[in-house]
């Protein structure tokens, strides 16, 4: 599940960053959460058992597009199309959805059992054929296969209600990608030849909702009466108004125009909760890791001691407090999103892998490694050169920029000059891909299985020479031992074996610091329990509390009217 | 170097000669003949007055002589300088020898420059004086143009000078490079009557002392009479009468020259010769000809504009006397044939009726 989930988590984490992310993800990514909002709909909030969700950003108005494959579709698409399994990215829990179960035969053959009695919302029955068709369709249209499934898949075959996936080579984690692939009806899509460019104004899915009304400024979903678990769905109607921009979205949320939103709100207690303390609640669970990524081909980043010193010297607590308003925690260096992924944590690593803020220790490490400072307090390496580097942050990602500024002032204490640069996102990602950057803030993690995160972060197969674009592992970590650990993991169907590999990689992360982890990116979610209760919470983390992605399928089947 | 010393350099002065100079302006499909085969010359140390109204072409001549514009055809020569083909890059060099005095003493001086600065710049630029010697020479010039006492005037700026003083400063600036030719474009027409003589006689005096030639452009025949050696009367780009100033003005033969003379305010004459006596060609024309359409209306300036701006095709086909439309003596001959300058070198006139018009009665054509 490296593709979708990675992107998903990227958005979770990057979503912290204001406003800028586009709709160019795969199905069900929001436009960035701390974002935009718009318009109207004061009256919508009060309607019976309906829900107003501030998540979809028209910028400025909506395009009538519910294409589950295309970028730029409506958020509502993910309330209509369903995957085979629901994977809870918070804790990796797998919940059967359109499939009722799976089993591995060896590590190259996966067999899924498909649910019976499900109907498409146009009344046609849903079957395993539709599942097989969907995967065949991906093969047929490589531009839809963002997850690169067919790079490992050999074939997909149907027998009865069973679908069998044959792999070219072992790739156990690919299950998560298969599981989260949304299934489309064969009887509709088999005639669509250019799926990417279709607008799909009348989506036919198996999900709990169908499109009610649509205007450029607002659309509604209404309950699908034929839904296979219709009894669990309490919300009859969902309203998606246009989000608008940052300020107005926050003002709207604050003034109670929405029942559910996913926004970064400063001082949420005062700006949201206190407006209606009885009902207004929020939960910002961690969803990924924001780290300081370095170009390991360059000095001084190729020096493990230097990286270690930085890990001690950066005041991560301050970042969490100031840049992220204290909503997030300092990240563990092991690369797991804790506490959700705590079952993966290597117990031998102290303090859950968090490097405590300790400037003295950092200085000590540096001086032991041959660095020294000159009269002006500048840090010099062993050859006597001063140390300075550029730290790139995408333009407009305000919390990241603030983070970078704190990194800057932290490292100044060591005598390191950091120049914060804010290029456009394209330039930012390009300079990482081609390895022409010094350091950058990056997001990773938050995937259903930590393997995906580690693989993209550390696998040397992604490493490209400087100047050529790499799609992953942009810090260019190249270590045969790490590769061996990943290789072992990808083949392991046994969870114990997977755990052993994970422990090893966590050690690499902790001791060799390929990246310096800073803090956990949060999933923003503010909701009102005035009409419905049963929202995911720290106590009951059955799904990420996000109104986008596949989480709503889970949440909408958990919400109950307040009686 | 004093101006008396300049006089010793008499050999520097040169003769200005215009031969068959024609200037045609093409502007937006309209062709204007500003000058039509104008020839005359200015001998060293002489003042030639170019007389005519606006549109007569006298300013065009000034621009051609100073190299600002080039003639369409014909030659202009000042000493060794072939002015009509002078390349732009040599213009600066040429201007050492040709200087100009402007009509408006208020706008021809840079308000930010002092008297001294104004006089020193041409010395430094054209004659490569050092700063100190330029300063000395500038004081000398101030004396010459009577901007004295020097200490009082040296650091004054133009707005602290009276009109006459400004014009004397302008003249001083013009003689600073020891030019061979001074072009004085209506130098007194904006000054009060009471100070005109002062300025004019200064120019007169300077040309005597330095031997430079002066091209004196004016619409005022009286001042021309006072200082000029020769007079050239221009009408619509044609020389209609020329000769020794006294001859031309006292015995004007061309009707246009006579109009000009008549237009000079002359208080003594006007009261004793009542309006109905003497030559009143303008009025006669206005009342008789019935040419009252706006453009060839009898008013002279209107007529000049209308006639000199004709379509391209007709330009070179124009025949007849340029003045015929306004001439009370015009005959068929005037319409069909173009008169040329006739007469002695002392007095030439281009008019078919030059000899007879003095006594003849106006014809009603």
């Amino acid at each position: 599940m490296k593709g979708a989930m990675k992107v998903f988590s990227l958005f979770l984490t990057a979503g912290i960053s204001a406003s800028v992310l586009t709709a160019c993800g795969t199905g069900g990514t929001p436009q960035g959460s701390h974002s935009t909002g718009n318009s109207t709909a004061t009256n919508n909030g009060s309607a019976g058992n309906s829900l107003v969700i501030g998540v979809d950003n028209g910028s400025p108005t909506f395009t009538d597009n519910f294409n589950p494959f295309g970028p730029g579709n409506r958020i509502g698409t993910s309330y209509i199309y369903e995957p085979l399994f629901f994977v809870n990215s918070i804790n990796g829990q797998v919940v059967p959805w359109l499939a009722t179960g799976y089993k591995w035969q060896g590590n190259k053959k996966l067999i899924l059992t498909i649910r019976n009695g499900v109907k498409w919302n146009d009344g046609q029955p849903f079957s395993a054929e539709d599942v097989a068709f969907t995967f065949a369709y991906l093969k047929q249209n490589p531009s839809l296969d963002w997850q690169g499934l067919w790079q490992v898949l050999q074939s997909v075959s149907v027998s009865g209600n069973q679908v069998t996936f044959n792999f070219k080579k072992p790739d156990v984690p690919a299950f998560y990608e298969i599981a989260s692939t949304v299934i489309v009806p064969k009887h509709i899509w088999s005639t669509i030849t250019n799926p990417v460019q279709g607008m799909n104004e009348h989506p036919v899915g198996t999900g709990p909702y169908v499109v009610g009304s649509f205007t450029p400024y607002q659309y509604t979903l209404k309950k699908n009466p034929n839904y296979w678990q219709a009894s669990k769905v309490a919300v009859d109607k969902i309203v998606f108004p246009v989000l608008g921009n940052n300020q107005t979205a926050a003002l709207k949320l604050s003034s109670g125009q929405w029942d559910w939103a996913t926004l970064f709100l400063p001082n949420v207690q005062q700006t949201f909760v206190s407006k209606d303390p009885q009902y207004n609640q929020y939960w910002f669970p961690p969803g990924g890791i924001i780290s300081l990524g370095m170009n390991l081909t360059k000095a001084p980043f190729n020096d493990i001691h230097f990286r270690e010193a930085m890990a001690y010297a950066i005041d991560k607590q301050k970042i969490a407090q100031q840049a992220e308003d204290g909503y997030v925690a300092v990240a563990s260096q092991v690369g797991l999103v804790l506490p959700g992924q705590k079952q993966w944590l290597n117990p031998s690593i102290p303090n859950q892998g968090v490097y405590a803020y300790n400037v003295q220790k950092a200085k000590q490490i540096l001086s032991q490694a041959g660095y020294h400072t000159n009269a002006q307090g500048q840090l010099l390496d062993s050859s006597g050169k001063t140390i300075s580097f550029n730290l790139e942050v995408p333009s407009g990602w305000t919390d990241w920029i603030q983070t970078a500024q704190i990194v800057q002032s932290s490292l100044k204490q060591l005598g390191i000059t950091v120049n914060v640069q804010t290029p456009q996102y394209g330039e930012y990602s390009q300079s990482q891909a081609t390895g022409q950057y010094d350091a950058a803030l990056m997001a990773y993690g938050g995937t259903a299985t930590p393997f995906t995160s580690y693989d993209t972060l550390l696998n040397s197969k992604y490493v490209m020479p400087v100047g050529k674009a790499a799609n992953a592992n942009v810090e260019r970590w190249s270590n045969p031992e790490t590769d061996q650990m990943l290789h072992s993991w990808v083949q392991a169907t046994d969870s114990q074996a997977q755990l052993q590999d994970a422990y090893k990689i966590e050690n690499v992360m902790y001791q060799q610091l390929p990246v310096v982890n800073l803090f956990y990116g949060a999933t923003w979610s503010e909701f009102s329990t005035k009409k419905f209760v049963g929202w995911p919470s720290a106590a009951n983390p059955y799904a990420p509390p996000a109104p986008y992605g596949q989480a709503p399928l889970m949440i909408m089947t958990h919400l109950q009217p307040r009686s | 170097m004093s101006l008396e010393a300049l006089q010793a350099h008499g050999s520097k002065t040169a003769r200005l000669e215009l031969r068959e100079v024609t200037k045609v302006y093409q502007k937006r499909r309209r062709t204007t003949v500003a000058l039509n085969r104008v020839s005359f010359s200015v001998d060293p140390g002489k003042i030639i007055a170019l007389v005519g109204e606006s549109g007569s072409g006298k300013t065009t001549i000034a621009r051609i002589v100073t190299g600002i514009e080039r003639p369409t055809s014909g030659t202009v020569q000042l000493g060794d300088w072939q002015v009509d083909t002078l390349p732009t890059r040599r213009l600066r060099e040429y201007r050492r020898f040709v200087q100009m005095v402007f009509q408006d003493p208020f706008s021809s001086l840079n308000p930010h420059n002092t008297v001294l600065q104004t006089l020193m710049r041409p010395l430094i630029n054209h004659r490569h004086y050092s700063f100190v010697s330029a300063r000395e020479q500038a004081f000398e010039i101030m004396n010459t143009v009577r901007l004295a006492p020097i200490e009082q005037f040296a650091n004054k700026k133009p707005h602290q000078l009276s009109g006459g003083q400004r014009q004397r400063l302008v003249i001083g600036r013009a003689i600073a490079p020891e030019p061979q030719l001074m072009v004085a474009d209506e130098p007194v027409s904006m000054l009060d009557v009471s100070i005109r003589a002062d300025v004019l006689y200064l120019i007169d005096e300077l040309r005597r002392r330095t031997g430079m030639s002066v091209l004196y452009i004016t619409h005022d025949l009286l001042s021309a009479r006072a200082v000029a050696d020769e007079v050239v009367v221009l009408y619509r780009g044609h020389v209609v009468e020329r000769g020794v100033a006294q001859e031309v003005i006292r015995h004007a033969e061309h009707p246009y020259t006579r109009i000009l003379i008549n237009a000079i305010p002359n208080p003594r004459r006007s009261q004793y010769q009542t309006t109905n006596q003497g030559l009143e060609p303008v009025q006669a024309m206005e009342e008789d000809s019935g040419l009252h359409s706006p453009h060839d209306f009898a008013e002279l300036d209107g007529a000049l504009k209308a006639v000199t701006t004709v379509p391209t095709l007709q330009t070179h086909a124009t025949v007849g006397c340029p003045f015929m439309q306004r001439c009370p003596y015009a005959t068929l001959q005037c319409v069909e044939q173009t008169p040329s300058l006739q007469g002695s070198m002392n007095h030439q006139v281009a008019c078919w009726h030059a000899c007879g018009c003095k006594g003849s009665e106006p014809n009603n054509v």
Binding site: K2, G3, A4, K6, L10, S19, V20, L21, T22, A23, C24, G25, T26, T36, N38, S39, T40, A41, N44, S59, P60, T63, N65, N67, G70, P71, G72, P142, S143, D145, Q147, G148, Q151, V196, Q197, G198, M199, T215, P216, Y217, Q218, V239, V242, G244, N245, Q247, T248, L251, S255, Q424, Y425, G426, E427, S429, Q430, A433, Y462, A469, N471, A472 | -
Partner: protein
Amino acid sequence: MKYFLRKAGFLILTVWIAVTLNFILPRLMPGNPAQAMMAKYAQQGPISPSQEHALALMLGLPTGSLWSQYGQYLGNLLHGNFGISYSFYPEPVIAVIARALPWTLTLIGLVTILQFVVGTLLGVYAAWNRGKKFDSTATVLFSFTSAFPYFWIALAFIYLFSYMLHWFPLSGGFSGSLSPAWSGAFAGSAIYHSVLPALTIFITGIGGSLLGMRNNMINTLGEDYILLGKAAGLPEYVIATRYAARNALLPIVTNFAMSLGYVVGGSLLMETVFAYPGMGYLLATAVSNQDYPLLQALFLFITVSVLLANFVADILYGLLDPRVRKGGVR
């Protein structure tokens, strides 16, 4: 007629320059937007060459030599094909713009004209009553209002009138429950939503018109024909309007045309704040989304609109000034 032709020629030339600038600029800048787009997609997983090609085709990225690209580009423009928006994928850019354009044209167009008319009238009044209370207050006051950044005024308005007082909606162009249609309800909603945006443009823009007209008018009042009009005992309103204002208006019209670009620029920022469904907000989102095809098309549309408005103003000028109309000076 000649004047008209000359202005039309200039219009065509400037449009061509804008179009070409639009073509060249992305190609001059370091960092290829298409590659940036690729990099963004590549975040989602390794891209095989075939996928890269698919992506290039999907996004309509240019291929071929620069000249053939240019030819293709011009051809596309003529057919109204501005490519496909990245952020509204798969919607064509032209469709996205078609939704936004009417809003901006109506709002900015109407308010700018209104602002110009009212400002100019007040300017006439101030100049005519020069040195009096209204004049001295207005000049200082409007020096300030016209100095406020558009977006800042907009922010202040939203906070005050929408958030605090709930008089007006927080953002948007119309109520979400309505569909754009020629109905009274929709028009009412649209007008209601446009009050604050309109007020923003009006308040920040009116100062310029007022002060410009005032100064020009004072200048004109020094002309001889004004003095003569007074000497002739013409009624004050005749001198103020038909003599002074009429003439003072002439340069103002050209200036108005020239400053349109700036008014539009300011209004774009204002739209961003109000999330008004017009070109400005679209532009801001295109910028933050690096939606280059949309960005370019927007620039072109805005520019051409401004150029057209300019052209109209020039023609108007020609009609107002007999010297131009009758082919005299100029």
